[in-house]
Every structure is written in C-alpha cells, then in structure tokens.
C-alpha cells in the first residue's frame, strides 16, 4: 500500500469506522442538523444536547465512506463539554489539518486526518459531520429542524 493511502486510512480512522462511537439518535437532544454530500450521497445527522451554548451530550447517525463516518465518530468524542465558540475553533483547526496536512502536536486524534489533504476529493467527506454539528449549533430547537434538509 502506498504511503499516501496508509496515511489516509490511519488505524484511528479504521477503528472509528469499524466501531463508531456515539452512533444513533440521542433521546435527550434539543438540536439536530442533517448534512449530506449530494455528489456522493453520504449522509450524516448530528444530535446535540445543548445547555445554553455548551454541548452537554451529542451523537451522530448516517451512512457513508470510512472517512466521513470515522470523522463524525471522532468528532463526537471531542465536542462534549465544548461551547459553540470552542467548537468553531476546533473545527477551524480540523479544517486546517485536512486541507494542509499540518497538525499541531496538542490536537489529539484529530491529527489522524492529516492524510486527507493529499486526496482533495475526500476533504468534504472528512468535514461532513462537522458541518452538521455547526449547523445544529446555529439552528432552531429540535421540532423546527427535523424536516429541514440542507441539499
């Protein structure tokens, strides 16, 4: 296997793809947003339980490639307890990682996605769950948004 490909499919990513964390609907969620990638059909819904602007719990659901599913899974392990501003900051760092391959040392498992930058077509896969989470943070309470699909 090429160096680029083993960099893309890191062990952390394969692990999250095989055993996704926080997968399924969150019964206590008061925010949800649905993300999809119309060009490939990948789907990801993110459920947030918000207390003020702090995420107290979250989950994701959906289907897609290993990169999109592992990224959403890993994201759910990183955002618990974060405020909206902290989430945005972490996303900005994540976006920097997947578009440049440069990962700060203190950024934990998210650095596993550095390999994405050599596969530009897969950047959207890696950021799908994050976009859903950011939309959920900005969105209306649950009942108003369940039928709102962003295509």
């Amino acid at each position: 296997m090429s160096a680029d490909l083993s960099e893309l499919y890191q062990q952390v990513i394969l692990d999250h793809n095989r055993r996704p964390r926080n997968r399924g609907k969150l019964p206590t969620a008061n925010r949800v947003a649905h993300g999809n990638n119309p060009s490939c059909g990948d789907e990801c819904s993110v459920y947030l339980q918000l207390d003020g602007d702090r995420i107290t719990n979250l989950s994701f659901d959906g289907s897609g490639c290993a990169i999109s599913q592992a990224s959403a899974s890993l994201m759910t392990t990183q955002l618990k307890g974060k405020t909206a501003a902290e989430t945005q900051k972490l996303y900005d760092e994540f976006h920097h990682i997947v578009t440049t391959g440069e990962a700060p040392e203190d950024i934990s498992d998210l650095a596993a996605f550095a390999g994405v930058h050599t596969f530009p077509a897969r950047i959207k896969c890696a950021t799908l769950g994050w976009h859903a989470a950011l939309n959920a943070l900005k969105g209306d309470p649950l009942p108003a948004t369940t039928e709102t699909h962003k295509d």
Binding site: S2, L5, R18, C40, G41, G64, C65, I67, Q69
Partner: protein, 411 residues
Amino acid sequence: MSDLARTRADFPILHQQVNGKPLVYLDNGATSQKPRAVIDALVRYYERNNSNVHRGLHALSMRATDAYEGARTRIANFIHAADPAEIIFTRGTTESINIVARSWAHAHLKPGDVILTTEMEHHSSLVPWQQAAKAAGATLKYIPVLGADAEGGLDYAALDTLLTPAVKLLAFTHISNTLGTINDAAELCRRARAVGAVTLIDAAQSIGHAPIDVQSLGCDFLVFSGHKMCGPTGIGVLYGRRALLDKLAPDETGGGMVVTVTYEGANWKPSPERHEAGTPNVADAIALGAACDYIDAIGREAIAAHDHHLGAVAMEQLSAIPGIRIIGPRLGQPRAGLVSFAFPDVHAHDIVTFADEDGLALRGGHHCNQPLMRKLGLTSTTRASFYFYNTEQEIGVLVASLRRIQKFFAG
C-alpha cells in the same frame, strides 16, 4: 498484434501509468475515451476550417458548413433517421431531454395527463419530467423495477394498468447506467403507441454500444451524448420525428433559427435550424461524425458482443467474491457491459480510492440514481463499466484489487 491491441493503440490516453500502474479505465458509463481519429478531427477543424456556419459566403465558412451538415447526415445514418433534419445538435442527453420536457410538454400536457417513466431512470431523465409534470399539473408515474436487487428488470405486466389513454408521454432509458439492464425499447414504444402516447428513449448508455435504428424501434424522440460514444464532451443529439420537430416551439430563440424578424416579432425556420439558435458547436459536431465513422469501422454488433462478453466475465468473477452484492440482472441473464456492486462493510468511495492506487478508474456513488438506490436500500455502489477497448485481463486487475481492499478493511 491482435485486433484488440490494434484498437487500443488508437486511444492515446490508454497508454499511461496511474499511481505507477498501467491505467485500467473501467468508467465508460460516465464517459468513453477518444480515439486519435476523433482528436484529429477536432484539431483539423480548428487548424484548417474554423469558421461560422450558414452565414459566410467565403471558402472557410462553406467548408465549415459542409462539414457541420455532413456530420448531421452522418449521425442520421448512424441511428437510421429518415431525414437529417430530424437530428438536432444539443449539449448532450440532459439538454435534449430538457428541450422535450419544456417545449413539448408545455404545448401538449394538461392537468390530469400522465407522464410515464421507470424507476431506473438517471436523474437527467427523471427530474425534467418531475418539473414538466409540476408545471402542467400532470402526474408522473413509474414502471416499477422487480426484485430486491432489481434483477427482474422492468415490470412489463404493470403496463397493462399503467398505460392508459391519460398517458401522453412514455420516457425510458434504453440501458440502465446503474443496473446494466437492457430494456425492450421496441416493445415499450409499441405499447405506448397503442394508447397514443409519445415516446422518448434515453440512449445515453446504448449509443455506440449496439446498433440503433430509430425507425424500427418506433420511437418519437431519442436522445444521447457524444462523449459516451468516443466523441467530444459538449455535443449531443435530440432525434425527433420531423412532424414533431417542425411543430415544436423553439426552446431558445435568437440568430440562425428565424426566417423574418421585425421590431414586432419573428417567425421560425423548420427543423433543424428552428432548434439551434446561435452559433452551434461546430467542431464537436464534426468530431462526433468522426466518432460514428470510427465506431462503425469496428462494428456495433462486434462492440455489443465484446461488451456482453466482458459483462459476463465480470459477473462470473465478481460473483465469486464473498459478501459482494451485485445489483441488476443475475449471472447468466442478459446484461450490458457494466456491473454495479456493494460490500456490506466497505463503502464505495473507499473502494474507488483504493482501486485508484492499482491504476483502476471506477465509479462510486449513487450514479445519479438516488430514488433507485433508496428503493434497493443502498446509498452507493461501485460500478465497473466496459467498452470495446477493455480486456479480460483488466477484469482480473479489478477482481484482485477488490480482494485486496476487502482484506484490508476486514482488518
């Protein structure tokens, strides 16, 4: 050199390495590659004959006009149209369908009418009908596909109830780009005609893969893209029976399609000029004519036989991979030269990324077939689609690559 090796030598693009491996191009359902003869036709036109058509009286304009109209006649012969005026040049299948969905549907559909299509249509032959039905207050109905893997093809028995006099148009794909199903186009046209419905065949996947005779098929419209039959991108065809095209309101108006213009209004030429406002895509039309020559030199019967052989070989070898789910016709049933498949634990995009490392060009995704995918309980498949320059050995590369990918993701 074998015939196949000689044919492959005609395609400059095939002789390259991708990720250090020989290119194995199995994405012909998306677009075919171009032989030297087609590339040369483009270069020759721009180097020697480039000019506007139907206007100039100078030598270049006459040459360009002759070549452009010659291409129209060549394409009319290619599909056995009765008259070159039945060939309208468009940007491709999508534009051709949209013209019918706007102009024809606008003039002929009223509330309560039915447009009938199938559950296996590409979005390009589905969304325009949804829009046309909405605009007219008509209803869009679907001929179902049969089987959990759509292996049963279209439900022809359902036509007895679906084909009522309310059906004004039957639009269907000749060959499914996702399933590889070959629909009985002549039978569907015959049944539609019996209730007075107009027919449109989406020949995007069949053109250049099998002999096409619009008169024996008995269709009213037939549409296709040049780029899937060795021609350039940006050129396609709307075939329509002359009687329909001469009455059809132009979808676009402008120069070249008018007889008389006053400050108060204008009137239209007959087909084909009527439907080709503005400077047409002269170069690509001429190159599409060259593609017809190239394909007929190989022979469409031979191409169809080669396609079906590769489809059958791929079916046999892919079916032997544990866990694979193949959609469309079962092993041994008639099938076009393409196979779509899915694995329960490896997503199509991961397969395509890995296969690329082996030099393979595959397609992964919903293939512009979202409703069908949803019906089959899938979000995506991987598709290998063949053409006359593909080899059995390339199917071997595909199968070896899939086995490697499966092993990697099984951990």
